[in-house]
């Protein structure tokens, strides 16, 4: 199988593009990839005041990009509601919304070169410290065909003092998006 089609390279390409943190108003919030079942650094504990007041978790729901399908990525933004007198509280969920907007901005619109951010190349992470561009195009595209738009964005019910916004993104290889006439040769 070509390196551009392996689930590992597709997954890491997307995660690498999203990065390990997201910055809003000069403050960086961590992004934890594949942290299902986890509570990174005990972040949801109200007593853990030294920890980041907000963070992002990512998980892949499906990984059929490169297999005539699509990969669905769920990004959860968690933000502590906090107490009224606390400096880093988020009583109205605005910090959570800002972080979610910053995540959407990674794929929406044009970059500095005037190219769509929704189009990028799959990289080969055989050597993680020196990824090689495979030249195969990947698209962030929702089910309606809109490039760079999220599949879904919703405010989830609060979870024990946490604001939560869930974003779903959909990724396809250009080959997958080309319809049934296109096929893989390797």
């Amino acid at each position: 199988m070509d390196a551009s089609r392996t689930a590992k390279n597709i997954r890491i390409t997307i995660q690498d593009k999203i990065g390990n943190d997201v910055t809003v108003d000069g403050i960086s919030y961590p992004i934890y990839h594949n942290y299902v079942f986890a509570d990174p650094d005990d972040k949801r504990s109200p007593d853990a005041r030294t920890q980041s007041p907000a963070w992002v978790e990512s998980t892949f729901l499906s990984q059929t990009a490169g297999r005539r399908g699509f990969s669905l990525l769920q990004l959860d933004v968690f933000s502590k509601v906090g107490g009224e007198s606390e400096d880093d509280n988020d009583p109205f969920g605005m910090r959570a919304e800002d972080i979610a907007d910053a995540l959407e901005d990674l794929f929406s619109g044009l970059n500095n070169q005037g190219r769509r951010k929704a189009r990028f190349h799959v990289k080969n992470y055989q050597n993680p410290f020196n990824p090689i561009d495979t030249g195969v195009c990947m698209l962030c595209k929702n089910s309606r065909g809109d490039l760079g738009m999220v599949e879904e964005r919703r405010i989830s019910s609060s979870e024990e003092g946490l604001r939560r916004i869930t974003i779903t993104m959909r990724f396809q290889l250009l080959q997958d998006a080309s319809g049934p006439a296109a096929f893989y040769i390797d």
Partner: protein, 257 residues
């Protein structure tokens, strides 16, 4: 004013909105002489050979029924496909959830609650849903089980409220060799017993991972819908013949082939 494309050019539509071309000299038209293209939509081309206005009305009625019947069959098959896909995509969830998916059909327009912008224009609709209990708001936070399964939850504590204790039961499974839950033993690796009495008034739930079966099914069904419903309707051709003899009494003689 509506117009129809005909072999005589663009003609004013008449017939009280029935979509019949208002032909200039209907009585002079002999069988097979005139060909009218009704509608003019890209998705469907209907050709009607006119004998009389009566026959045309009849033919349009048949066309309407035939198209709806045709579309209904396609949508029905696709809805069944979607139901099976929901079952498949939720098959890794333990319990009876995956078997609770059901499909329903109702004639008439869809309720506004479906959120479908075309609800008012529908002549029938299919609904697919899981068992009712999965949509019931749970706990203080207002979430539902189907939300939790679809989007996942963080690790959380479950507190006792009115029950005397926690009770976890699962039956023996001959396939895996599991003997089922034993209320006299704690759950492996924990201090929580399967049944009463509890050692604490709460348990730590490890959280639910997001399964995303609704979003997966939605994404998978779009190409299926395009291929199984939109495509065949776009390629639909109806040939309507009017028998040369007719009945002489004005009885309908149009047939849809």
């Amino acid at each position: 004013m509506q117009y129809l494309n005909t072999s005589r050019g663009k003609l004013r539509a008449g017939g009280r909105g029935l979509g019949i071309a208002d032909l200039p000299s209907l009585s002079k038209i002999s069988l097979g002489d005139e060909q009218v293209i009704l509608g003019g939509k890209k998705s469907m081309q209907i050709e009607v050979r006119l004998k009389s206005v009566f026959h045309t009305i009849r033919a349009i009625g048949e066309i309407d029924s035939a198209v709806k019947f045709f579309a209904h069959g396609l949508v029905h098959d696709t809805a069944r496909h979607a139901t099976r896909t929901f079952m498949f995509n939720s098959s890794e969830i333990k319990g009876r959830f995956k078997d609770s998916w059901s499909m329903s059909f109702k004639p008439g327009r869809a309720p506004e609650s479906t959120g479908n912008p075309f609800a008012r224009r529908m002549s029938f609709f299919y609904g697919i849903k899981a068992g009712d209990k999965y949509y019931k708001p749970m706990g203080d936070k207002g979430g539902t089980i189907i939300d939790w399964l679809e989007y996942g939850t963080k690790p959380h504590n479950i507190f006792l409220k009115s029950a005397a204790g926690f009770y976890f039961y699962w039956p023996p499974n001959p396939r895996t060799g599991s003997r089922g839950s034993d209320t006299t033993l704690p759950i492996k690796g924990t201090e929580v017993f399967h049944g009463v009495p509890p050692t604490r008034d709460y348990i730590r739930h490890p959280g639910i991972r997001p399964y995303g079966f609704i979003r997966k099914t939605f994404g998978e069904m779009i190409p299926v819908f395009e291929g199984s419903v939109v495509g065949p309707i776009q390629r639909l051709k109806l040939y309507i013949g009017v028998s040369a003899k007719g009945t002489g009494t004005g009885a309908p003689s149009g047939r849809v082939y």
